[in-house]
């Protein structure tokens, strides 16, 4: 369907929904690279005005990628919950924005609405929102998931310890891991990006992590972020797999470039569930996403990168994940050029994911060829904290020596907890206190009296490395 907007003497034409969505997107380099971005600032606002007048039901009659061509579209259409959608079905995108901001949109109502929303509806409304809108609405969303602890409770902020090492050296990994635990991190997951994606090395690392977790009785989960097929093999060989990881995207073609499909993810999900290792709950999947991945795989079908990213959340939602992480600044400046673009993308992704009912975290990060620095990361981290982000990364000194990029550090997590009054997951917080890492006010005490305040297993782990 064609869309039109007249402003003064100029009429802007948008031949279809995906073009309208792309032109309405706040500027980012990836859309310009794909030649999808608005040609002028006015054209962008014309598209936003047109989008604001569009009924939400339009997204149920027109797909940005045809149903026949793409299994992600089929998933979105086939699993849409019309009953959940009913309360907002007569709204336009602009009216939906106002409703979301209003007091009618309570936490309970937003939770009930989630299955009735499609990624495209959520992406559309995000395109006509300012940062404060994205923050205040996301902060109202409540998404709680469980495995050995509880992620996403109001007032909490969890962290993944990411103790990567360039050659997967077990002692190097253990050193970073212990440093992270002693700084109060790790309640989201202890998760390693392996340098080598083979079942053997994956199993070796899993055993090491699991042994440490058991020895210290840590109420958290472990994960090796290997390809899903590697993890399935590890499960088949009896390895201690808590969470099954996979990078996913918002089109069938980009998922193919990642070597996955919905049926393979289904298989992986079942394999993860079969181990039944969760004590608090059984959310066993961990997904990572990020704007621009579809374009970089030439799998974007002329759809803007933010809309495709929201579609990735439909894939994630299918498998009830414990954690969904948008790795926002890793992709590089040809997709998100600078701190401004990274900041907006991080908040959009968090908002879209939360509104769709996902436990969203964010890898607040950048590469050295992006126009960004630590100040940009501090700003995004703070904004995400205010928005109620479920979890962030914890990388020693913010410097990942394996993946060669900068993320958030253990210190950064403590900063945002202190500045905004956030706490770790409750089960993990109790453990931190018992282990002698943190006091009841949430202050780090692991380093204040040599190692004397630490629990016996902790002291032994430090000397056994």
């Amino acid at each position: 369907m064609e869309y039109r907007c007249s402003l003064g003497s100029i009429t802007y034409n948008f031949p279809d929904l995906k073009t309208l969505m792309a032109k309405a997107t706040p500027f980012r380099s990836g859309d310009a690279l794909a030649e999808l971005a608005a040609q002028s600032a006015e054209e962008r606002v014309a598209a936003q005005m047109t989008l604001a007048d569009l009924p939400l039901t339009a997204f149920l009659s027109e797909s940005v990628i045809p149903y026949e061509d793409d299994e992600v579209t089929r998933l979105i259409v086939d699993t849409h919950d019309a009953i959940a959608f009913a309360p907002v079905k007569s709204m336009t995108v602009g009216g939906f924005r106002e409703w979301l901001l209003s007091d009618y949109a309570t936490s309970e109502r937003l939770t009930a609405l989630a299955p009735g929303l499609t990624p495209e509806m959520v992406a559309a409304v995000s395109k006509i929102m300012r940062l404060q809108d994205l923050i205040v609405v996301a902060a109202k969303c409540s998404v709680i998931t469980k495995f050995r602890d509880t992620i996403g409770l109001k007032g909490t902020l969890s962290t993944r310890i990411q103790p990567n090492h360039p050659v997967d050296d077990p002692r190097g990994i253990a050193a970073s891991l212990l440093d992270g635990l002693l700084m109060g991190g790790g309640d989201a997951v202890l998760g390693i990006n392996p340098a080598t994606d083979s079942p053997e090395s994956c199993i070796t690392l899993l055993k090491m992590l699991d042994e440490l977790r058991e020895r210290l009785a840590i109420p958290t989960q472990i994960c090796i972020l290997a390809h899903v097929t590697t993890t399935i093999q590890a499960i088949d060989r009896g390895a201690p797999v808590d969470l099954v990881f996979q990078s996913v995207g918002g089109t069938e073609a980009v998922n193919r470039s990642f070597g996955v499909s919905l049926s393979l993810l289904e298989e992986a999900h079942s394999a993860g569930l079969s181990l039944n290792r969760g004590t608090m709950g059984n959310n066993v999947m961990y997904f990572e996403t990020g704007q621009g991945s579809a374009l970089s795989a030439n799998a974007h079908h002329g759809v803007d990168q933010q809309t495709i990213e929201a579609r990735a959340y439909a894939v994630a939602r299918r498998f009830s994940p414990l954690l969904v992480n948008t790795v926002v600044g890793f992709i590089g400046p040809e997709y998100l050029f600078d701190g401004k673009q990274i900041t907006r993308a991080g908040l959009e992704d968090h908002f879209c994911g939360k509104l769709l009912g996902l436990p969203m975290g964010c890898d607040v990060c950048y590469t050295n060829h992006a126009e960004a620095d630590q100040d940009d990361m501090d700003a995004l981290l703070t904004l995400l904290g205010v928005a109620g982000c479920s979890f962030i990364m914890g990388v020693p000194g913010a410097d990942d020596i394996m993946l060669n990029y900068q993320s958030t550090s253990f210190h950064d997590a403590l900063y945002v907890r202190q500045a905004l009054g956030k706490r770790p997951a409750p089960e993990f917080e109790a453990w931190l206190q018992n282990a002698g890492v943190m006091d009841e006010q949430g202050r780090i005490v692991s380093d204040t009296q040599e190692l004397k305040g630490l629990s016996e297993p902790f002291r032994r782990a430090l000397t056994a490395i």
């Binding site: 590089g332 050295n368 020596i401």
Partner: protein, 277 residues
Amino acid sequence: MAEQLEPEIVNQMPVTLPPWSGLRRFTDARIALGRAGIGLPTDAHLEFQLAHARARDAVYSNMDVAALTESMIALDLTVLRAQSAAMNRREYLMRPDKGRRLNDESRLTMDRQPGTGYDLVFVVADGLSATAINQNIAPFLTVLLPDLNSAGWRIGPTVMVEQGRVAIGDEIAHLLNAEIVVVMIGERPGLSSPDSLGCYLTYCPNPGITTDADRNCLSNIRPRGMSYTDAAARLLYLLTESRRRSLSGVSLKDETGLLPDRTSQALECADNRNRRD
């Protein structure tokens, strides 16, 4: 009042140093940094800033064309200069496609070259770190060339490209009628490696059709990474095998213990951003 306060402040120790600093011997990661409140101690903070500053400077550095040319001529190489279609660094960063193509003038320069073809041409491109080129090219070529010369390789002119990405070598090799191209390029700087050189070998490249799967990559060539001797041995092996088997890329990778392990290949092939799984 002031007299009472002063000694108290002097006795306050704002930085807590962790008693587990011994763990540092197991990893280069920035662990056991200590803390001031929940913030970084000033030293650790400024060390990070310095590393980032060096990486940023590397991204915006320029090739020292005069010095590089001089050192290549001293090695009996002929040198040509070229420029990609990216006008400047900003365009280079935002438009990877332009960094993969020659501009019109450079294409003409290549086209006008005489010669009946070569076994091999080198392309030296700034990539994401001209610092890596300025620091590593001369010593690396000094180690590499004697072996190539004694093995009888017919080496074409070395093309020095500004604002270039890996795939620009395809067009250059095509225009110069070279069988194999080796692109030596500055890699995306890491926080502790602003000077990392990458080498990409492609057999019979075909502009627009050749993909990254058709290339072999040596990464992290620098004094504190893969040594020049090691890199030269590996590259010589790859070149010999590529010519003998008339191929490059994935199918060349798997069959030798001399080639780099997956780890060094995972470490950023400068032109090919992989996601993190």
